[in-house]
Amino acid sequence: MDMPPAIEARGLKKVYRSGLGGRGVIALAGIDLRVEPGEVFGLLGPNGAGKTTAVKILLGLTHPTAGEASIFGVPVGDPTSRRRVGYLPEGHRFPGYLTARETLSIFGRMSGVAPQDSRRRIPALLERLRLSEWSDVRVKKFSKGMTQRLGLAAALVHEPDVLLLDEPTDGVDPVGRREIRDLLLEEAGRGRAILLNSHLLSEVERVCGRVAVLRAGSVAAEGRIDELTAASLTAGASAKAVSRYKLVASGVDDGLLSELRGEGALVERVNGHFDLTARDRAHLNVLVDRLRARGAELEELTPVRSSLEDVFVGLVSPSPSHPVSQSGGPADEVSDGGTGGLGDWGKQP
């Protein structure tokens, strides 16, 4: 029998009613998500895109209007689904009167951790998150970064198989960020599924294998980061039909450039190198053959990738047909469930 996915959501929809007879605000317009064990999955989107609502539904904090979600096959409405989930909410507030050790003890027991396991796990976790020296200090004395590390420890104390993390590096210094990044990769290496909700795209790019970009309650794009950031993925162009490369070569004159353009390539001279766009790999090889036949010497030919931030901005930038809220409110009203103005490259299989 196949193991169920760590996280699965199908047709997840959430409408917040705005009072009696109100039309309601659509926070999620029917999204599908699937995260496998050992995978680090990033959930991206501007404020109000529905990221937090999606995570809250997965935790049973918010009830979906339609659709279903499960953790390892257990519906999220069943509290037992959370036995295997560790959660770090954004802006969490642990009781300030508890010490770090007491916090982990109480929240561990609430997750069903036996006292003998607590005695073993808590010191190890505090050590791992560099909080050992602070274990008996009240949480109210903690800095933002320390509180965040304590939050991670509380999310890990019952050794969950799924981690849902909302801005885990928020308020953490660069060294701490790297430590958290390493910790997440380590946890993923142990087979834990991680769903990361973050605005720090550079962090997401370094940690996540796959991402989904939410916009106005819908999945605007989903796929592996290298697929999404491939330079060929430009609005309006087919994902599989266009490739862009950085070409460094000597012996390329204007005549050769004209020949390449005659072969259907787009070539631009940029700061000592060439920006070469081919239709596909076969076309690229034809162009390379032409270059070599004309005596040009190739020094470098690299696929050009845009950063995740470029992809993100391109996806969520307001378009006339689909305005994007920057208000930080719960959601935007969704006029359609589509990808509005993204062209045909948005969704990866």
């Binding site: 049973g60 036995r83 507030r93 009167y97 508890l98 007491e102 929240f107 609430m110």
Partner: protein, 284 residues
């Protein structure tokens, strides 16, 4: 069970950290100390021969005073005082439990654990009730022991008064939880619960109030409210009656205890059930 125990422990830790627990027990201890050290009774052959308060002799009437009657009078009076003050203090110390749980950034931490919402709410409720019960046991138990030490008079009935006080706290705390779940405000929760206490006490005179009403529907409304609300006035009288025996009802009709306790318990159960239902349905 483990999660329930953790939640109850957290209620006590929170009470300790907010000085509620300390203040609660410090006030009780102060009362116990004053009573234990300041009052000195001279009992001869079952009668009070002399008394000193803070070292000063108290003038006693020339006829001898039956010490048993004196103790009973004190105990029943103290129970009435405890019913009012104990209930109010307990509510003051515990009404924040739900609003604080529902605070942004806090509720996520609790609800993301594998504990059902109803179980979580009931564990907070039982934690609050245990806190109130612990203080009642401490205060009533200590006063009872001091009375025995000073007078050698043992009235086990005195301990029973605490049961009715705790029952009243349980019912009113359920209502405070309902308002807390609905409004997430400690202030509103406290004010409405105290208001219920006093309005319900006034409704003890519902027959007289209804008779004074010009419209029949208004009279029926007053009667209806009387049966819906907890019987706070009758419970106060019942507390004193339990401690003192039937003598407290001289000149007044003894209340129908079954109706008093039954309808009050129903009110508490309804409030608690409604708060659980509301808490389960809420989006956070």
């Amino acid at each position: 069970m483990r999660a329930w125990a953790a939640s109850v422990e957290e209620v006590f830790r929170e009470a300790a950290a907010r000085w509620t627990l300390v203040a609660y027990f410090a006030l009780s201890s102060l009362f116990i100390l004053i009573f234990g050290l300041a009052v000195n009774l001279d009992v001869v052959n079952g009668a009070l021969a002399g008394a000193k308060l803070f070292g000063q002799s108290v003038d006693l009437p020339s006829r001898s005073i039956d010490i048993d009657r004196l103790v009973l009078g004190f105990e029943s009076g103290f129970s009435g005082f405890l019913y009012l003050v104990g209930t109010f203090l307990a509510l003051f110390a515990t009404a924040h439990l739900v609003p604080r749980l529902q605070e942004k950034g806090t509720v996520d931490l609790y609800l993301s654990r594998p504990v059902g919402r109803v179980a979580l709410l009931l564990s907070r409720y039982s934690g609050g009730l245990l806190l109130a019960a612990a203080n009642l046991v401490y205060l009533i138990g200590a006063i009872w022991l001091i009375i025995i030490w000073k007078t050698h008079v043992v009235h086990a009935r005195f301990l029973l008064g605490g049961v009715t006080v705790l029952f009243t706290i349980a019912v009113l705390l359920a209502f405070a939880f309902l308002v807390g779940v609905a409004t997430s405000s400690t202030g509103v929760s406290l004010m409405t619960t105290y208001a219920i206490f006093f309005v319900a006490a006034m409704l003890a005179a519902h027959k007289k109030i209804a008779a004074a009403m010009s419209a029949e529907w208004a009279a029926k409304l007053v009667d209806g409210l009387y049966w819906v609300f907890p019987k706070t006035a009758e419970l106060g009288r019942a507390t004193v009656a339990q401690v003192a025996g039937a003598r407290v009802f001289h000149g007044a009709a003894p209340p129908n205890l079954f109706a008093v306790y039954g309808s009050t318990a129903l009110f508490g159960l309804a409030a608690l059930s409604l708060s659980c239902w509301l808490f389960s349905r809420k989006d956070f």
